[in-house]
Assembly symmetry: C2
DNA sequence: TCAAATTACGGTCGACGTAAGGATC
DNA sequence: GATCCTTACGTCGACCGTAATTTGA
Protein backbone atom coordinates (compact mmCIF):
# COMPACT_ATOMS: atom_id res chain seq x y z
CA UNK A 1 0.00 0.00 0.00
CA UNK A 2 1.37 3.35 -1.04
CA UNK A 3 0.24 6.86 -0.31
CA UNK A 4 -0.07 7.71 -3.97
CA UNK A 5 -2.58 4.94 -4.49
CA UNK A 6 -4.78 6.43 -1.81
CA UNK A 7 -4.40 9.95 -3.13
CA UNK A 8 -5.31 8.86 -6.63
CA UNK A 9 -8.20 6.82 -5.36
CA UNK A 10 -9.65 9.69 -3.35
CA UNK A 11 -9.32 12.06 -6.29
CA UNK A 12 -11.10 9.61 -8.58
CA UNK A 13 -13.83 9.00 -6.06
CA UNK A 14 -14.46 12.69 -5.56
CA UNK A 15 -14.35 13.63 -9.22
CA UNK A 16 -16.14 10.54 -10.46
CA UNK A 17 -13.75 10.23 -13.36
CA UNK A 18 -10.26 8.94 -14.07
CA UNK A 19 -9.59 11.55 -16.70
CA UNK A 20 -10.57 14.46 -14.46
CA UNK A 21 -8.45 13.01 -11.67
CA UNK A 22 -5.55 12.73 -14.09
CA UNK A 23 -5.80 16.44 -14.83
CA UNK A 24 -6.02 17.38 -11.19
CA UNK A 25 -3.06 15.17 -10.35
CA UNK A 26 -0.98 16.43 -13.26
CA UNK A 27 -0.62 13.01 -14.79
CA UNK A 28 -2.20 10.96 -17.55
CA UNK A 29 -5.31 8.85 -17.75
CA UNK A 30 -3.49 5.56 -18.32
CA UNK A 31 -1.39 6.18 -15.26
CA UNK A 32 -4.42 6.75 -13.07
CA UNK A 33 -6.05 3.64 -14.48
CA UNK A 34 -3.01 1.52 -13.70
CA UNK A 35 -2.58 2.83 -10.18
CA UNK A 36 -6.22 2.28 -9.29
CA UNK A 37 -6.00 -1.19 -10.73
CA UNK A 38 -2.93 -1.96 -8.66
CA UNK A 39 -4.76 -0.86 -5.52
CA UNK A 40 -7.76 -3.00 -6.39
CA UNK A 41 -5.53 -6.03 -6.93
CA UNK A 42 -3.83 -5.39 -3.64
CA UNK A 43 -7.12 -5.13 -1.78
CA UNK A 44 -8.68 -8.05 -3.58
CA UNK A 45 -11.84 -6.34 -4.75
CA UNK A 46 -12.97 -3.59 -7.09
CA UNK A 47 -13.30 -0.04 -5.92
CA UNK A 48 -15.16 1.28 -8.94
CA UNK A 49 -17.74 0.00 -11.33
CA UNK A 50 -16.59 0.78 -14.82
CA UNK A 51 -19.57 2.09 -16.63
CA UNK A 52 -20.39 3.05 -20.16
CA UNK A 53 -19.66 6.65 -19.32
CA UNK A 54 -17.33 7.22 -16.38
CA UNK A 55 -17.08 5.29 -13.15
CA UNK A 56 -18.87 4.88 -9.84
CA UNK A 57 -17.76 3.77 -6.40
CA UNK A 58 -18.75 0.28 -5.41
CA UNK A 59 -20.22 -0.31 -1.96
CA UNK A 60 -16.88 -1.59 -0.75
CA UNK A 61 -15.17 1.32 -2.41
CA UNK A 62 -17.33 3.70 -0.44
CA UNK A 63 -16.19 2.16 2.85
CA UNK A 64 -12.57 2.34 1.78
CA UNK A 65 -12.99 5.91 0.65
CA UNK A 66 -13.94 7.12 4.08
CA UNK A 67 -10.95 5.52 5.72
CA UNK A 68 -8.59 6.57 2.94
CA UNK A 69 -9.74 10.16 3.27
CA UNK A 70 -8.95 10.12 6.97
CA UNK A 71 -5.53 8.62 6.35
CA UNK A 72 -4.64 11.31 3.84
CA UNK A 73 -5.89 14.00 6.18
CA UNK A 74 -3.61 12.58 8.81
CA UNK A 75 -0.59 12.78 6.53
CA UNK A 76 -1.50 16.33 5.58
CA UNK A 77 -1.58 17.29 9.24
CA UNK A 78 1.87 15.79 9.60
CA UNK A 79 3.10 18.07 6.82
CA UNK A 80 1.52 21.04 8.55
CA UNK A 81 3.16 20.08 11.82
CA UNK A 82 6.50 19.80 10.05
CA UNK A 83 6.06 23.28 8.65
CA UNK A 84 5.31 24.65 12.09
CA UNK A 85 8.33 22.93 13.54
CA UNK A 86 10.52 24.39 10.86
CA UNK A 87 9.59 27.82 12.15
CA UNK A 88 11.91 27.06 15.04
CA UNK A 89 9.21 26.97 17.65
CA UNK A 90 8.87 30.73 17.59
CA UNK A 91 5.19 30.33 18.24
CA UNK A 92 4.18 27.22 20.09
CA UNK A 93 1.29 26.48 17.80
CA UNK A 94 1.20 22.77 18.49
CA UNK A 95 0.82 23.20 22.21
CA UNK A 96 -2.90 23.48 21.74
CA UNK B 1 6.28 12.39 1.54
CA UNK B 2 5.95 8.65 1.16
CA UNK B 3 4.58 6.04 3.46
CA UNK B 4 7.82 4.10 3.45
CA UNK B 5 9.71 7.06 4.81
CA UNK B 6 7.38 7.20 7.78
CA UNK B 7 7.51 3.46 8.36
CA UNK B 8 11.29 3.49 8.30
CA UNK B 9 11.42 6.53 10.54
CA UNK B 10 9.13 4.99 13.13
CA UNK B 11 11.10 1.75 13.13
CA UNK B 12 14.38 3.63 13.64
CA UNK B 13 12.90 5.76 16.38
CA UNK B 14 11.57 2.76 18.24
CA UNK B 15 14.67 0.63 17.87
CA UNK B 16 17.13 3.45 18.33
CA UNK B 17 19.28 2.12 15.54
CA UNK B 18 19.40 2.16 11.75
CA UNK B 19 20.94 -1.27 11.56
CA UNK B 20 18.31 -2.90 13.76
CA UNK B 21 15.59 -1.17 11.77
CA UNK B 22 17.17 -2.49 8.57
CA UNK B 23 16.91 -6.03 9.90
CA UNK B 24 13.33 -5.57 10.99
CA UNK B 25 12.39 -4.04 7.65
CA UNK B 26 14.21 -6.70 5.64
CA UNK B 27 16.48 -4.23 3.95
CA UNK B 28 20.02 -2.92 4.31
CA UNK B 29 21.58 -0.30 6.51
CA UNK B 30 22.57 2.04 3.64
CA UNK B 31 19.03 1.98 2.39
CA UNK B 32 17.62 2.99 5.75
CA UNK B 33 20.20 5.73 6.03
CA UNK B 34 19.29 7.14 2.64
CA UNK B 35 15.56 7.04 3.22
CA UNK B 36 15.81 8.77 6.58
CA UNK B 37 18.05 11.38 5.01
CA UNK B 38 15.56 11.97 2.22
CA UNK B 39 12.83 12.52 4.79
CA UNK B 40 14.99 14.93 6.76
CA UNK B 41 15.76 16.91 3.63
CA UNK B 42 12.11 17.02 2.75
CA UNK B 43 11.17 18.27 6.20
CA UNK B 44 14.04 20.71 6.42
CA UNK B 45 15.46 19.56 9.73
CA UNK B 46 17.15 16.56 11.30
CA UNK B 47 15.15 13.83 12.94
CA UNK B 48 18.06 12.08 14.63
CA UNK B 49 21.28 13.08 16.25
CA UNK B 50 23.99 10.86 14.89
CA UNK B 51 26.05 9.83 17.84
CA UNK B 52 29.27 7.98 18.38
CA UNK B 53 27.32 4.81 18.95
CA UNK B 54 23.83 4.72 17.46
CA UNK B 55 21.32 7.50 17.10
CA UNK B 56 18.83 9.49 19.13
CA UNK B 57 15.67 11.38 18.27
CA UNK B 58 16.00 15.14 18.21
CA UNK B 59 13.35 17.22 19.93
CA UNK B 60 11.73 17.95 16.61
CA UNK B 61 12.01 14.30 15.69
CA UNK B 62 10.07 13.40 18.81
CA UNK B 63 7.19 15.61 17.75
CA UNK B 64 7.19 14.15 14.26
CA UNK B 65 7.34 10.64 15.66
CA UNK B 66 4.07 10.98 17.49
CA UNK B 67 2.23 12.20 14.43
CA UNK B 68 3.92 9.68 12.13
CA UNK B 69 2.92 6.86 14.45
CA UNK B 70 -0.71 7.94 14.28
CA UNK B 71 -0.58 8.18 10.50
CA UNK B 72 0.79 4.67 10.18
CA UNK B 73 -1.80 3.35 12.61
CA UNK B 74 -4.41 4.92 10.40
CA UNK B 75 -3.09 3.15 7.32
CA UNK B 76 -2.93 -0.12 9.23
CA UNK B 77 -6.57 0.24 10.16
CA UNK B 78 -7.35 0.76 6.53
CA UNK B 79 -5.67 -2.54 5.73
CA UNK B 80 -7.65 -4.23 8.48
CA UNK B 81 -10.85 -2.73 7.13
CA UNK B 82 -9.99 -3.98 3.67
CA UNK B 83 -9.47 -7.47 5.06
CA UNK B 84 -12.83 -7.36 6.75
CA UNK B 85 -14.51 -6.17 3.60
CA UNK B 86 -12.93 -8.99 1.66
CA UNK B 87 -14.79 -11.40 3.93
CA UNK B 88 -17.87 -10.38 1.97
CA UNK B 89 -19.55 -8.69 4.89
CA UNK B 90 -20.45 -11.99 6.50
CA UNK B 91 -19.94 -10.39 9.87
CA UNK B 92 -20.53 -6.69 10.05
CA UNK B 93 -17.49 -6.01 12.15
CA UNK B 94 -17.11 -2.43 11.07
CA UNK B 95 -20.54 -1.46 12.24
CA UNK B 96 -19.19 -0.89 15.73
C1' DT C 1 -16.94 11.33 -34.22
C1' DC C 2 -15.85 12.55 -29.75
C1' DA C 3 -15.08 11.06 -24.95
C1' DA C 4 -13.45 7.89 -21.56
C1' DA C 5 -11.11 3.78 -19.92
C1' DT C 6 -7.79 -0.06 -20.99
C1' DT C 7 -3.78 -2.25 -23.12
C1' DA C 8 0.77 -2.17 -25.28
C1' DC C 9 5.26 -0.55 -25.47
C1' DG C 10 9.75 1.85 -24.90
C1' DG C 11 12.81 4.93 -22.35
C1' DT C 12 14.37 6.79 -18.35
C1' DC C 13 15.13 7.44 -13.70
C1' DG C 14 15.32 5.92 -9.17
C1' DA C 15 15.56 2.32 -5.58
C1' DC C 16 18.12 -1.36 -3.99
C1' DG C 17 22.20 -4.05 -2.63
C1' DT C 18 27.34 -4.60 -2.64
C1' DA C 19 31.41 -2.61 -1.60
C1' DA C 20 34.33 0.87 0.39
C1' DG C 21 35.08 4.63 3.83
C1' DG C 22 35.04 6.87 8.39
C1' DA C 23 34.47 6.96 13.21
C1' DT C 24 34.08 5.19 17.79
C1' DC C 25 34.46 1.76 21.30
C1' DG D 1 39.05 -5.50 15.34
C1' DA D 2 34.00 -4.87 15.78
C1' DT D 3 30.08 -2.16 15.19
C1' DC D 4 27.41 1.35 13.23
C1' DC D 5 26.44 5.10 10.00
C1' DT D 6 27.65 7.21 5.44
C1' DT D 7 29.19 7.51 0.62
C1' DA D 8 30.06 5.55 -3.93
C1' DC D 9 28.61 2.90 -7.62
C1' DG D 10 26.36 -0.31 -10.94
C1' DT D 11 22.22 -2.76 -12.14
C1' DC D 12 17.72 -3.89 -12.64
C1' DG D 13 12.92 -2.92 -12.25
C1' DA D 14 9.16 0.19 -12.05
C1' DC D 15 6.95 4.27 -13.29
C1' DC D 16 5.60 7.42 -16.70
C1' DG D 17 4.02 9.12 -21.10
C1' DT D 18 2.81 8.17 -26.11
C1' DA D 19 0.28 5.59 -29.02
C1' DA D 20 -3.09 2.23 -30.24
C1' DT D 21 -7.55 -0.23 -28.97
C1' DT D 22 -12.18 -0.65 -27.27
C1' DT D 23 -16.59 0.81 -26.07
C1' DG D 24 -20.33 3.84 -25.71
C1' DA D 25 -22.77 8.51 -26.45
Amino acid sequence: MELKQLQYFVACAELGSFSKAADELYTTQPNVSKIIKSLEEELGFELFERQKRGIQLTEKGQLIYEQAYKAIENINQLSILAGEIELQLKEKVWKK
